[in-house]
Amino acid sequence: MATTSEDKARIARQFIEAIPFSKALRMHLDEIGEGLAAISMPYDAALVGDPRTGVIHGGAVSALMDTCGGAAVMSHADAPAGTATIDLRIDYMRPATPGQRIVARAECYHVTRSVAFVRAQAFDEDETRPVAAATGAFTIEQARTPERAP
């Protein structure tokens, strides 16, 4: 029996919510499916990188982008058994507005047997101007005994 897209979304949500670091940063899976993922993270004083302005640390945005990229890979139609980041480049376009929730949107736009290619953007409440953009490559971990569709 094929897994439905709801099953996949539920599995992905459980997977992400079981990650201790994502939990510590209070990340929430907003959307998932077919190589696309949206994950958001509330503003928190513990994530501030510049105490004089209250702007969130770039490293917290990186963590969100990395998690969201991984989620997009896991939700791809080819359904890898697991994934890990090979490399991730983040461009910081502007400081996120203090007090606002940050949402990352990632798209796994191409996969080969071993590699998934991802692009992502992060926004605060102003969804017309991205805070940061990312591109990355992720591994495709195959299940040990590959399941074949009948």
């Binding site: 079981a18 990650i19 201790p20 670091f21 994502s22 939990k23 510590a24 940063l25 004083a45 513990a46 994530l47 501030v48 990188g49 510049d50 105490p51 004089r52 969130i56 640390h57 770039g58 490293g59 917290a60 990186s62 963590a63 969100l64 982008m65 990395d66 998690t67 991984g70 697991g82 890990a84 980041t85 090979i86 490399d87 991730l88 480049r89 983040i90 461009d91 910081y92």
Partner: protein, 169 residues
Amino acid sequence: MSRPRPEPVHLIKQRRDAALSALVDGVPYIRTMGITFDRRGDELTGVLNYDDKLIGNPFLPALHGGATAAFLETTAIIELSFQILWDEIESGRLEGGALTPETLPRLPKTIDFTVDYLRSGLPRDAYARARVNRSGRRYASVHVEAWQDNRSRLFAQATGHFLMPGRSN
């Protein structure tokens, strides 16, 4: 023609340590991540003190790629900032001992940061050192390497570009 007496060692250490802690202690995210810095002269080593919350893959288990990225970025920016501060306090233009997070000069901003994951991070402490390859008037390029058990077996490395603090920004 006599040389001035060398400064007492405790004053030198106090000035340099005060400048480093002014840089590090005021940043909530550095505390959240459990990152600390060891200093030997002007050489800094970032330490990511292990905590269960840093895990990204509970099945292996392995450090979260985002935690590794944040550790590398923090180490790069503190190295670059400390280098800028070092010249200021050693020349006496800035009073190192009197520096606080509030009186710090403006710090560099990250333009971009690229992390290269070489092997999975094990559930234990990690260390990182950064090298400023170029520090110009407006831009700086910094490379950073992280390891756990063996200094020669890196588990991640990164390069970042930074906008230097200036009169105009």
